[in-house]
Symmetry: C2
Subunit: 407 residues, 2 copies
């Protein structure tokens, strides 16, 4: 029991996040899975993909029309004998004789010898001839092989999170399987004798456990695979057991609760002897933090207030996990604050919950949606941003420009 | 076979999308699933959720410290006899006698009779007394029941797409199950004898089928559940069979190919007799379009060029499907265009592929990443926006402000 330890040095949130990033850096080299291209949406490509073939793979028509030689239609109108039709999918290997035309569908191979296509709109079909009413130059309405991408050229770079457009390009090039990084796998362990699963009745002094579920959702939304969500009472043996089991299966463990200066801090009690560093980060909420490596696996210990846990995740873990997953940066804005902040703690960066005020498709301002209390978890449902108030700022007038990021 | 039909009236993309929206409107009333709160991330809430209990559910301490009566600590320093400790999770029903203090942990119930908490930092613990070094007023560091949300108040509104913060609020209020809308279920059928699944060898005239996979990915990324991706050759019986099967299982069918003025247009051939409206939409790519209701199920028929199919989805379907899924609007920007567009077809709105140029976390400009050709599917992989060029515009100077939206 540690009731008033010597205060460890207080670190800034940025500095602390850098330390976490160092710790998580090895997770960039994760195992590679091979998945069918049709199941690769949202996965992170593990190797540069090159086109195995030219695209288009053969010379083909850009229009429904008639394949001709440009020289044969130089003086329209001109009637040319029709020598068949090439549908998309036909081999189209039969050469086009001089002074003739062949009907071609969009995407159909251009007959050897033809050098342009006259769109059907500029023609009149006869029984076995076609009248060409407008001339075309060589190359018009012809898609040349390799004009989209050449065989061997890079299609999609390693590290890309695969969006539908990447999947379209890979499929079009015939790539049936794609190498993708296995996601970071996490286990969440929330601690506290007072926590009860939603759906059960509450006895006096108990509250519902929202941390584990909320962090699991936040991890999932940021590209992490959550393999288990556990709850431990304030019992060292139980917590130690869950922790070892988690470390044997996951790349990352997040714990909540048990990190502050109270008497029943199971997380500190178990992790400090394992080399855990517990101390204060100059932020609010989310001040008390712990960081340990257990059996080679990083363990981030967040405070137990639901808002503190979520803000800790947002500030200290989410940007790193998004980079690891190949997801884009969290959208940030500089926006005027509607309403004033009368008091912000000196020396601590404060993260208030706010809501964007939109004008059309652009955010124009941000309003506060809840007080600063770290227990205000229901109020947080209305927030879509964190408002980042620097440590040195102790009050803000209405209209001041503030930095916000979406949660 | 329709080789030069009388041109149907050309409709604007906005007008055509409105028609599709009317057709899809009944999908707003979808069946409701009940899911555990831990599995509700990204689902759309089907009913307003109200807090069944006050949050906090009981009066509790905001700090690790000592519960006291404010009047007993009005003239610090003062030594008070210690009467035990209340951990988080303890029932905490024992009243606090006048002139005494009780140690309380963050989140622990405040003993009846106590009206404030003195943080541990402002105290010195003795053997069975505590020295209070700073007075506090009634209410300080006390979280009142219902100060976050009152029982009966609304927590999350029907229609909300559930983010981690909503899940946190619902879990904290003890809601174990949430009612959510079933997703829109879609089947994609790509048509064309020339299409071969990625991974198989290509014979002359054949190309890889990317449309089905790309549209399935785009649907999935926009909240739709894709229940099947099918391929039909240009065979009416085969297409009709796949279509009827799809309509018996899905809320929406999307077909690709077979909609233009060529000779082998299986989609037109099957759907026009079923009442399908096929015509031209004044956009490029994506001009030829069809719309049919088969057995009560809307069928959107997109053109078969991969870029045309994806742009059709982006322009004509995605905004509607996102609204149905409760997802936010597609991010749009007005940005200067790097480089000029020398030619854009008069009378047709053109959608070019572009890439955002970032400065820090804000897009500052957009550059073209590919030509206008609707076969340029590999080049599209590099694009992250569509550049929307109005129908009346035929050329754009470098630096002109253009409307773009993310794809």
């Amino acid at each position: 029991m540690i009731s008033r330890p010597a205060s460890p040095p207080v670190r800034s949130a940025d500095d602390y996040r850098d330390t976490i990033e160092q710790l998580l850096r090895p997770l960039a080299a994760r195992p590679v899975d091979t998945v069918p291209v049709a199941e690769a949406l949202g996965r992170q490509l593990a190797a540069d993909m090159h086109a195995p073939i030219d695209l288009p793979v053969f010379r083909n028509s850009a229009m429904d029309g008639y394949a001709v030689r440009a020289q044969d239609v130089a003086a329209p109108p001109v009637d040319l004998p029709l020598t068949g039709v090439v549908a998309a999918g036909d081999p189209g290997l039969q050469p086009l004789a001089l002074g003739t035309a062949r009907k071609v569908m969009t995407g159909a191979p251009l007959p050897p010898g033809a050098d342009c296509v006259v769109p059907v709109e500029d023609t009149t079909a006869g029984a076995d001839t076609v009248r060409i009413e407008r001339g075309r130059s060589a190359g018009e309405f012809v898609r040349e092989p390799g004009s989209d991408v050449r065989a061997g050229a890079e299609l999609v770079t390693a590290g890309t999170t695969l969006a539908p457009r990447h999947i379209a390009a890979c499929a079009a090039a015939g790539l049936a399987q794609l190498p993708v990084f296995a996601p970071v796998r996490a286990v969440v362990i929330s601690t506290g004798d007072e926590l009860v699963a939603p759906g059960s009745p509450l006895r006096p002094g108990q509250i519902y456990n929202s941390n584990g579920i909320a962090l699991a959702a936040a991890l999932t939304a940021n590209g992490v695979e959550v393999i288990a969500v556990q709850h431990s009472g304030d019992d060292a043996a139980q917590f130690r057991h869950l922790l070892r089991t988690a470390a044997s299966a996951a790349d990352l463990v997040i714990t909540t609760g048990g990190v502050s200066k109270g008497d029943f801090e199971v997380v500190r009690e178990v992790l400090i002897p394992l080399g855990g560093e517990f101390g204060s980060v100059a932020m609010q909420p989310g001040g008390p933090q712990g960081l340990t490596v257990v059996d080679g696996v990083p363990v981030l210990s967040f405070p137990g207030n639901p808002v503190s846990a979520v803000v800790s995740f947002e500030v200290l873990a989410r940007p790193i996990l998004r980079r690891l997953a190949g997801l884009g940066p969290v959208p940030e804005y500089e926006l005027p604050l509607l309403g004033a902040v009368r008091r912000s703690p000196e020396g601590r960066r404060q993260f208030l919950r706010g809501k964007l005020v939109w004008k059309g498709s652009q955010p124009r301002a941000v309003e506060l949606v809840s007080g600063p209390g770290s227990h205000l978890v229901a109020s947080m449902a209305a927030a879509d941003v964190l408002i980042d108030i620097p440590a040195a700022v102790t009050e803000l007038a209405a209209g001041t420009s503030v930095r916000v990021w979406t949660i």
